[in-house]
Symmetry: C2
Subunit: 347 residues, 2 copies
């Protein structure tokens, strides 16, 4: 079976993106679509400024056992409107929690989280809506199983910025010794930095063998360019930030074919935050709504604690690698909402 | 004011250690003693195998506003008995929550967490008890304000092991631009590793500028010595692990003179776990009881979100540096319970 180093290595999951770019817009929505019947799901919200939808339903003590889709979206809390397009599509498919005697009488529980990218394209009012959510879930449904995942400035990562650099969407998949697969998709939009200010190296590459540090002259030039871009962005936005300073948020979905209980999935979502901690510094600030969802397709047994531990460790690693891939795939942007260089432009 | 790069840089806090070493024992207890009247306190438990005492009282919705002391202890759940020696001492001082008409009628609420070091000295039954807890709190009370903190294989870190290496107790203090101080004390006893297996560098030193990697030949020799030590430990312990494999736990107290609400302190305890994530990999496994307490002495105002963010980021950094200092201060151990080389012996 060919692997694509993405969350779709967890067989059954599909990813779809939709975005609004131009005419003041720079935002988008990403849907992770579960197989029909849904996936076990959980969430761990660690940031201080979260924007979420239907996360309480995921508490393992509560009723709903599985979800059909998870939505990540730009547009801050406004962007959560995209969920309603995904729900409408799921309702048409008859997918969701049965709440009536007829097959189509369902309520799709669609957990979602939003990141703040308001105004990044210049127009504060350009946000994902229900039609964009529908476009994203339809895009997901059109993909084959095990399809590669589009990365970079697509979907929810379209308007993402991390420490002044253009952020984006990234995805990675890991196969564990047990044969279990752990995949992740991350949308990187952090108040903190993905780049070590001392050296210019990406934090998320510290854990992959000897770091090849950029030349000091390259790093100094990059820092100057980044400082100019930040100043230019401030000027184009009239220096305006809200009372709490810049708001951001890194979002991730981590998924596995390991058969997890909902409580175990919650632990996996928690451990996945260690991937954020390693790749972004600082992270989990009051201005970040950092949220990780976990999905289990329940294909492979978890026979013992050591196997579950490997899933926990793999979740952190898959998220860390997804963040690196997002940053490396991002392209620079220069528009009315600001100048956001890509890491690849600077180093 | 002289700073000691320790949790005692947060003025008012005192640290005391007591340990049991020899005759099969290799364990201990550490007390962080608040000023009279107590400190605002919170906790975040992220490991899968915690051993804790009075942590529910710290929920910001619950009654108790401040605590007089926090206890970290070896001996797994048995070692929580050390708390009762600390409570007895506090009762004698009339320190605790008033529950009766007379000044001395108090109940000291003493949150505590334990790490698993059972059998590390050879005797499974050698554990901290109430008298050891009393010794630790009396040691704390004898120290001056702003006293240096004993580090290495002392107190709760006496029997600590991290990825086969000797762990220990470490402490660090950071002064923020705002003038706020953030300090931490960590006891490093992890199922995961503090050392990058690719290079031999300490994970916790990745974030402090260019890493000076050990020579490959040094790293290879270190890996061989560590493998031999692990095999010898297995043989001395008759290969015996419980059903879940090796149990561990990294514990920390992070403290600040920033005036935090209990809910803010809880966020600080959470952010401090990012220090564990950066310095230990993997971490927060089912076999780890990883727990962080946060204390606020409420001396300095937190005027805005940016200042609180700096405290959150500083908490992660202080814990990360405490872990590095613990590992660098540890000394190797060779006894009936196993062979645990120190990082400094190998690199």
């Amino acid at each position: 079976m060919e692997r694509v180093d993405a969350i779709t290595d967890v067989v059954g999951l599909r990813v779809g993106h939709a975005q609004l770019v131009g005419s003041g817009a720079l935002t988008g929505t990403t849907v992770v679509l579960a197989p029909v019947g849904g996936a076990v799901a959980a969430v761990d919200v660690r940031g201080g400024g979260p924007g979420t939808h239907e996360t309480d339903a995921l508490d393992p003590r509560n009723l709903v056992q599985r979800v059909e889709a998870v939505v990540l979206t730009g547009g801050s809390a406004y962007g959560l409107a995209a969920v309603h397009g995904v729900m409408a599509w799921l309702e048409e498919q008859g997918r969701g929690v049965s709440v009536g005697p007829r097959p189509g009488q369902v309520v799709p529980v669609v957990p979602a989280a939003a990141l703040l990218d308001l105004g990044r394209g210049g127009d504060f009012a350009a946000r994902p809506d229900a039609s964009l959510g529908r476009a994203a879930v339809e895009a997901a449904a059109r993909t084959a199983l095990r399809a590669p995942v589009l990365q970079g400035c697509v979907g929810a990562g379209t308007g993402a910025v991390a420490g002044g650099l253009r952020g984006g969407t990234g995805s990675a998949g890991i196969r564990l010794e047990s044969g279990i697969t752990v995949g992740a998709l991350a949308v990187v939009n952090a108040a903190g930095s993905v780049v070590d200010p001392h050296t210019g190296a990406l934090y998320g590459e510290f854990y992959c063998g000897r770091v090849e540090y950029p030349e000091p002259s390259v790093h100094q030039a990059a820092q100057r360019r980044l400082a100019r871009a930040r100043a230019e962005t401030q000027s184009r936005r009239h220096g305006a930030e809200g009372e709490h300073g810049p708001l951001n948020t890194t979002l991730a979905v981590v998924a596995t074919d390991a058969r997890l209980t909902r409580a175990q999935a919650q632990k996996v979502a928690g451990a996945a935050h260690d991937g954020l901690a390693r790749a972004i510094r600082p992270v989990h600030l009051m201005n970040d709504g950092d949220t990780v969802f976990a999905l289990s397709t329940e294909e492979r047994e978890v026979p013992d604690t050591a196997t579950l531990n490997a899933v926990l460790a793999g979740a952190a690693d898959a998220v860390m690698r997804s963040i690196v891939k997002a940053v490396r795939a991002a392209e620079g942007f220069d528009g009315p909402g600001g100048v956001f260089p890509a890491y690849g432009d600077l180093y």
